[in-house]
Amino acid sequence: MAREFGEVILDLQNISLRFGGVKALTDISFNVREHEIRSIIGPNGAGKSSMLNVMNGVYHPQEGRILFRGEQRQKMEPHMAASQGIARTFQNIALFKGMSVLDNIMTGRNLKMHTNLFQHALFWGAAQREEIEHRKKVEEVIDFLEIQSIRKTPVGRLPYGLQKRVELARALAAEPSLLLLDEPMAGMNVEEKQDMCRFILDVNDQFGTTIVLIEHDMGVVMDISDRVVVLDYGKKIGDGVPDEVKNNPDVIAAYLGTSH
C-alpha cells in the first residue's frame, strides 16, 4: 500500500523531562507527519506515556522545543492542545461511568460549543440548534464505530473492550487533526484487537487524522504503523519504518533483555 504523507505537523526537538531527580525523558527528538500512524513502543517504564503527556501539554519538559504546525509552543496547557485539534484517550479508561455512552461522547464536543450556560438552561433558540448540530456529529461517530446498540447504556455497565471504543468515540467527537492513543488495545482479546485496529485504520483513512499510538502488542504495531519510535529508559534507541525497527540490534536487545 503506497501511502502519502504531508508535512511534519508535530516536531519534538531534544526533549528532556525530569521529575525531581528522576529523568523520565532524555534528549528525545522525533517528528510526526500529517496523516501518518506513528507508534511509540518500549518496555515498561520507558517513558512512553510521559512522551504522550508532553505532546498534549500535561507535562512541561525542562529542555527542548515542541513545534506544532511550525509554531513553537511555550507552556502549553491541555485545554490549549485540545482547542488546537489534539485529542487523546487514556491508558486507564477515563469516562464518566454513570453517564450514558451518548452523553460521554457529547462531552467530546464541549470545546466546540459556543452557547453559554444560561442559554443551555433555557434550551431555546441557538442552544437548541447547536445541540442538534452536535448531536448529529456524535451520531456520525456512533455510526462509524458501530456502537448504535449501546447508545443509551451507562458506560459503567459496558465490558472493557467497548468502554475503550467509547473513549475513542469521545476523542473522535472533537474532530481532532492529531489523535493520541495510549494503549488502545490493552486488555483486549484477539477479536476486539482486530476490531480496534480496523477502526484506527479507518479513522486514519477516512478522516485523514494523524495518529500517535502507544501499544505493547508488537504484531499490532508492526502491522498498522507507518513509522515507529522506540524508547528505553527515557532514551530514544530506534526510529524508522517497522522493518528497520524490527531489525535494529538495540531494539532487539532492549526487548530481549541482553545486557548493554
Binding site: M1, E139, E146, Q148, S149, R151, D202, Q206
Partner: protein
C-alpha cells in the same frame, strides 16, 4: 400459472410489483413507504420518493447492461436501498435472487453459479470482500454494486461501483429517456418470474424457487383480506431478506396493501427499534418470541418480592381467562375485572417493554411454537397466530382465523388455497401461489408437483374435527422403531425444545430398538439457573457436563416421556438414553440450516461415534470435533461426554385402547 384469483376487483392491471409501486406513488405519494433508522433518527421515505429511487436504480442497472430475464443477486441486511433494488430489478423484467447475508463465501459461490449471476447489489464491504473472494469461481459476475461506501475507498476493482454513483447515472438516464422505464414496466406480465428464493437445503443442494408476480400478489392479497390489513400498518423488517417470510410480509404485502416497512438500525438494535416503532403487524419465528419471554422471566426473577407477587398473580389471571377474552368467548365478570386491572398494572407495561402495545396481528411460523409460550402471548392480549407455508408456496398455505386459535394446529386453508392429504398423510396443496418451477431443475419440479397440479409439501399432517390442519413431522422423517411403533423425531424434539433449558434436541430411533437424544442446553437459561444455585462453570462445554445439569435435563426428558406415554401412537417413542453435546450446534459447521433447523442426517454421520455409544449402552464417550469460527478460522473442541439413562413410563393410552 397466472391466476385471476390474486387480483383486486375491477380487472385493473396492477398485476406486477412495479405497477403496484407506481400506483402507490400516484395514489398515496406522501404516505411513508419505508423508514430506516440512521444516525439515531428514523428517516422516512414516502412512496413517491421510493418510486423515484427505484427508477434511478433501474435505469442505472440498464445503463450497465442489465437486460430482461437477467438475474440480480441481492445480499445484505434489511436496508431500504436493497428493497428498492429488488423492485428496480423487477421493473426491468429481471429476476432478483436474494441471498442470506450471513452465508460464507463458498455457499454464495454455489448460488451465484447456479443462477448465472452477472450483476450483484450488496450491502457493504463485508459482502464485497466475499464477492471478490469467490470471483475466480464465478466468471460470469460483471458488476458488484455496493450500498454502504464505508471502507471502500481503496478498492480499485473496476468490477465495483457505488449505489450512489449508479443512481446518479440512472437519474440522468431517466431524465433523458423517461419513456424507457415506463415501456419496460409495461412489458412486464403477471406470469413473469418476480423473484428467486433459494430453499434452505435441509435436503441436498439449495434449489432456486422461481415465483411469479401473480403468485406473490395472490398470497399477499389473500393475507390482506384475511387479516384486513390497511395502508396504516407498520411492520418491522428485520428477518433475512432471502427468507420467503420476509419477502411476503416486507415486500409483497407492503406493495399490495401499501403499508409502511421499518428497517432497524443494526442487528443488535432490533429490540430497541421494535419498541420505538411499535409495529401493528408483526412476524417472528418462535425463537424470537421465546428469547423475549426468557429475557422477561429472567428480569422478573431478579425483581423484588412485591413485584414478583403482583406479576405471578396477574399472570395466573391471564392464564385463566386472557386467551378467552381475546377470542371473544364468554368470561365471568370477576375475571374480567381482574384482567382489566392486570392490563393496567402488568400486561400493558409488559407489552410496552416488548414493543407490542400496538400489535393487531402477529404471526409465527417456521418451527413449532411451545404451547406455554403461545398461550403466554395470547393471554396478555397479543393476537399471536400461526401460519403454515414454505418457500414453494410463498409461505402461504394455512392461517389461523381470528377467534379460532388452537395451540397445536396451523389453522385453516388460506383464501384461494386448496389443501388435501395423500394416503400416507402427506399434505398436498394447490393454488395461485405455487412456484412456477425450480430454476433449471425440471427433474425437481416434476418430482414436487404431481400430475394433478398439487405441490407435495413433504410434511405429514391431518385435519381435526373443525377442519384445522395439524402438522406432525416431515413425511420422510416419520420412521418406525424395530418393534413397528411410529417414530416422529421432530415431534419429540419440539416437545423437548419447549423447555427453556433445552436449546436444541436431536433424537434418533428409526430402525432402532429404542429412542435416544442429543441435547444442547440453552446457555443463557441454564447459566442463569447455575448462577442462582451458586454453581461455577467455565463456558458451555464445562457447564454441559456438570452432574446437576444432567439432572435438570433428565427431569425435562422424563416429563416428555410421561407426556408421550399418554399418546397411544407415540408411547413407544419415549427417550431411553441421552447425552448433552459438548458444543452448540451451529449453521457454520453445517449442523443447522441457515433458518436454524437441525440437519439430522448430517449430525448422525458427524457424531456417529456418539450415536453408537448411545445405543451400545456405554456410560461415556470421547469426542473431538472441528468448529468453524465466524471469520473462517477452524478450531478443535474435545470432551468426554457422559451418557445417562432416563425413566420411561408404561403407555397409559394402551390400557385405554385395550
Amino acid at each position: 400459472m397466472s391466476d385471476s384469483h390474486g387480483q383486486t376487483a375491477g380487472g385493473s392491471a396492477l398485476d406486477t410489483f412495479p405497477r403496484l409501486l407506481m400506483q402507490h406513488a400516484k395514489v398515496r405519494p406522501g404516505r411513508p413507504a419505508m423508514r430506516e433508522k440512521a444516525y439515531g433518527i428514523w428517516q422516512t421515505y414516502t412512496w413517491a420518493e421510493v418510486a423515484e429511487n427505484v427508477r434511478a436504480i433501474a435505469c442505472g442497472l440498464a445503463e450497465l447492461g442489465f437486460r430482461r430475464g437477467d438475474r440480480l443477486a441481492i445480499i445484505g441486511d434489511n436496508r431500504p436501498r436493497l428493497y428498492w433494488s429488488v423492485a428496480a430489478c423487477q421493473c426491468l423484467g429481471g429476476i432478483p435472487v436474494l441471498l442470506y447475508q450471513d452465508a460464507v463465501a463458498e455457499e454464495m459461490a454455489y448460488v451465484l453459479q447456479d443462477a448465472e449471476i452477472r450483476f450483484a447489489v450488496v450491502e457493504d464491504q463485508e459482502q464485497v470482500d466475499k464477492m471478490l473472494e469467490i470471483l475466480p469461481e464465478v466468471p460470469l459476475l460483471e458488476r458488484v454494486v455496493y450500498d454502504d461506501p464505508r471502507g471502500m475507498r481503496h478498492y480499485a476493482d473496476t468490477l465495483l461501483m457505488g449505489l450512489d454513483e449508479l443512481q446518479a447515472m440512472g437519474r440522468s438516464h431517466d431524465q433523458n429517456q423517461g419513456d424507457f422505464l415506463n415501456a419496460e414496466i409495461e412489458k412486464g406480465a403477471s406470469d413473469d418470474i418476480s423473484v428467486m428464493l433459494y430453499t434452505s437445503g435441509t435436503t441436498g443442494k439449495p434449489k432456486g424457487v422461481c415465483q411469479t408476480h401473480g403468485a406473490f400478489i395472490a398470497a399477499a392479497t389473500g393475507g390482506r383480506q384475511f387479516d384486513k390489513l390497511t395502508d396504516q400498518e407498520d411492520i418491522l423488517s428485520y428477518l433475512p431478506m432471502a427468507w420467503v417470510g420476509d419477502h411476503l410480509f416486507s415486500f409483497a404485502q407492503a406493495m399490495v396493501a401499501g403499508f409502511t416497512i421499518n428497517c432497524p438500525e443494526s442487528g443488535e438494535t432490533v429490540m430497541t427499534d421494535l419498541r420505538e416503532i411499535g409495529p401493528t403487524y408483526y412476524f417472528a419465528p418462535p425463537r424470537v418470541f421465546e428469547n423475549l419471554l426468557t429475557t422477561v422471566m429472567i428480569r422478573m426473577e431478579d425483581a423484588g418480592w412485591f413485584k414478583r407477587k403482583i406479576f405471578a398473580h396477574f399472570m395466573d389471571v391471564a392464564r385463566r381467562c386472557g386467551a378467552e377474552i381475546l377470542d371473544g368467548k364468554p368470561v365471568a365478570g370477576g375475571d374480567r375485572l381482574q384482567y382489566w386491572l392486570g392490563n393496567l398494572l402488568v400486561y400493558g407495561p409488559l407489552k410496552n417493554v416488548l414493543g407490542m402495545s400496538r400489535i393487531r396481528v402477529a404471526y409465527t411460523a417456521g418451527a413449532a411454537i411451545g404451547p406455554d409460550l403461545f398461550r403466554f402471548y395470547r393471554s396478555i392480549g397479543i393476537n399471536l397466530k400461526q401460519l403454515y407455508g414454505q418457500t414453494e408456496t410463498c409461505a402461504y398455505v394455512c392461517l389461523q382465523p381470528d377467534g379460532e386459535i388452537k395451540l397445536d394446529s396451523v389453522g385453516k386453508p388460506a383464501p384461494f388455497v386448496e389443501v388435501k392429504l395423500a394416503d400416507n398423510g402427506e399434505i398436498l396443496v394447490k393454488g395461485p401461489m405455487l412456484l412456477k418451477a425450480y430454476y433449471r431443475r425440471p427433474d425437481a419440479t416434476a418430482e414436487s408437483i404431481n400430475v394433478d397440479g398439487y405441490f407435495m409439501t413433504g410434511d405429514a399432517g391431518f385435519f381435526d374435527e373443525d377442519g384445522h390442519l395439524k402438522i406432525i413431522d416431515r413425511a420422510k422423517d416419520v420412521g418406525k422403531l424395530n418393534n413397528g411403533a411410529m417414530f416422529a423425531p421432530n415431534y419429540i424434539e419440539n416437545k423437548l425444545k419447549f423447555f427453556q433449558h433445552v436449546k436444541e434436541a436431536v433424537v434418533f430411533g428409526s430402525k432402532r430398538d429404542f429412542v435416544t437424544a442429543f441435547i444442547n442446553i440453552d446457555l443463557e437459561a441454564v447459566g442463569n439457573w447455575a448462577e442462582r444455585k451458586g454453581m461455577s462453570y467455565a463456558g458451555y462445554t464445562d457447564l454441559a457436563q456438570q452432574t446437576a445439569v444432567y439432572e435438570l435435563i433428565r427431569e425435562c426428558i422424563e416429563k416428555v416421556n410421561a407426556d408421550l406415554a399418554g399418546d397411544p401412537m407415540m408411547s413407544g417413542s419415549q427417550v431411553h438414553r441421552f447425552l448433552i453435546l459438548h458444543k452448540e450446534l451451529d449453521a457454520d459447521d453445517g449442523e443447522l440450516t441457515r433458518t436454524r433447523k437441525v440437519r439430522r442426517n448430517f449430525i448422525s454421520e458427524k457424531y456417529a461415534v456418539l450415536v453408537d455409544a448411545l445405543f451400545a449402552g456405554k456410560k461415556a464417550e470421547h469426542i473431538e470435533t472441528e468448529v468453524k469460527y465466524e471469520d473462517g478460522r477452524v478450531g478443535r473442541v474435545s470432551a468426554d461426554l457422559r451418557i445417562e439413562d432416563t425413566k420411561t413410563f408404561a403407555p397409559r393410552g394402551a390400557v385405554k385402547a385395550a
